[in-house]
């Protein structure tokens, strides 16, 4: 259905998000994307106290760090990115035009940006098939997934396209599985591995099953994720305040929230 009240580009995103469960788009705000990447490169140089050449530093990060040291590095880095107020601002700037079209214009943003670093062969950073809603997220949330390197095949993530979701629900109801790891083999022919390059952004429906496997490519994956929702939609276990912050409340709502009908005699 074409909605006459929205632009052609918005209609295309709308249809694609509903049909596939995600959109991949070219980022328009390159300045903010560069700011984010530079933040990481500076952190790595400071952490290792070495002035590396930045060319392919992220892709080749597995040559710098051992798997056993990865988690402490990652935690320190996550702490830094969430300490810097400009980080979330730039993250939002990169995604805003697409979020306005897919989610809404009065938005709540997750308080913390998450980071995933997947070294080749690392089995410690895996996410079995899951939907975020299964662990308490509201179905009104969308995930903005932002790669710092080109992601493809097992260096990327997979998602079950929306068109296959009904089939998946039937499968859940009809077949037994012992644990979450048993799910992937049952849907591996239906999932789509997303090819997304640096300079592009992925916004996906986290109600759809998704996850990753061991990165079997020769490069390290760096990606971030952060959830957005419309402010006045239902919250799941992830509440306003502790998990989400309103970031684009509009003047009319701000006024209306305090409005009281005048008392008359």
């Amino acid at each position: 259905m074409n909605n006459l009240f929205v632009t052609k580009s918005e209609n295309n995103l709308y249809k694609k998000y509903l049909k596939d469960g995600y959109i991949i788009a070219d980022i328009k705000n390159i300045k903010s994307l560069d700011w984010i990447k530079q933040f990481y490169l500076s952190f790595i140089k400071d952490y290792f106290k070495k002035d590396f050449s930045t060319k392919d530093l992220l892709n080749n990060f597995h040559k710098l760090i051992k798997i056993k040291d990865l988690n402490s590095f990652r935690l320190k880095l996550i702490q830094e990115i969430n300490k810097d107020k400009n980080f979330r601002k730039n993250y939002f700037n990169v995604a805003s035009i697409f979020l306005y079209e897919i989610v809404g214009n009065e938005l709540a943003m997750q308080n913390r940006v998450n980071l995933s670093i997947q070294l080749p062969g690392d089995k410690s950073s895996l996410l079995d098939v899951h939907a975020d809603t299964w662990s308490g997220d509201s179905p009104f949330e969308s995930v903005v997934w932002l790669p710092l390197v080109d992601c493809f095949k097992t260096k990327s993530m997979f998602i079950l396209p929306a068109l296959k979701y009904k089939k998946f629900i039937k499968l859940l109801q009809s077949s037994k599985f012992r644990n979450s790891a048993d799910l992937f083999p049952k849907i591996k022919n239906d999932v789509k591995w997303l090819k997304i390059n640096y300079g592009q952004i992925l916004i996906f429906n986290q109600c759809l099953p998704h996850g990753n496997l061991v990165n079997k490519e020769k490069e390290t994956r760096w990606s971030m994720n952060c959830r957005f929702k419309s402010i006045f939609t239902p919250y799941g276990d992830k509440k306003l305040g502790e998990f989400f912050e309103p970031i684009s409340l509009k003047a009319a709502s701000k006024f209306a929230m305090n409005y009281k009908l005048p008392k008359i005699k």
């Binding site: 702490q79 509201s138 006045f232 912050e245 409340l249």
Partner: protein, 117 residues
């Protein structure tokens, strides 16, 4: 907040917040259990020797908006810095107050919005 988090867990969250933000944890205080009480909170923000106060959550502020406005006024007047550990937010100027106000207002309006999914 509509739900109760055990005090031991609240203290853990506050201690963790202090440790992550290099803040020395000195004394803890517990609000009276009587409904809608903010007596302890108002006593603390009026004390001269306590510059920084950490609350477990910003939803521990008075549920009455007039009382919250009074709280903000005293915080600014007495040059206090208030931290909310769970939400990782702080309050010591008018911009901070606006953010806290928005969050509270939205929380108050949400019961009138779509609730279930």
């Amino acid at each position: 907040m509509g739900e109760r988090v055990p005090q031991s867990v609240q203290n853990l969250v506050i201690r963790d917040y202090c440790s992550r933000n290099n803040i020395s944890y000195l004394l803890s205080a517990t609000e009276y259990a009587m409904k809608n009480s903010s007596k302890v909170l108002f006593k603390i923000i009026n004390e001269k020797n306590k510059e920084r106060v950490i609350l477990y959550s910003l939803f521990q502020l008075p549920s009455n908006s007039n009382l919250r406005d009074k709280f903000y006024k005293i915080v600014i007047k007495n040059k206090k810095k208030i931290y909310f550990a769970l939400e990782n937010k702080s309050l010591n100027n008018k911009d901070d107050i606006e953010i806290i106000r928005d969050i509270w207002n939205i929380k108050d309006v949400l019961p009138n919005c779509l609730k279930k999914f």
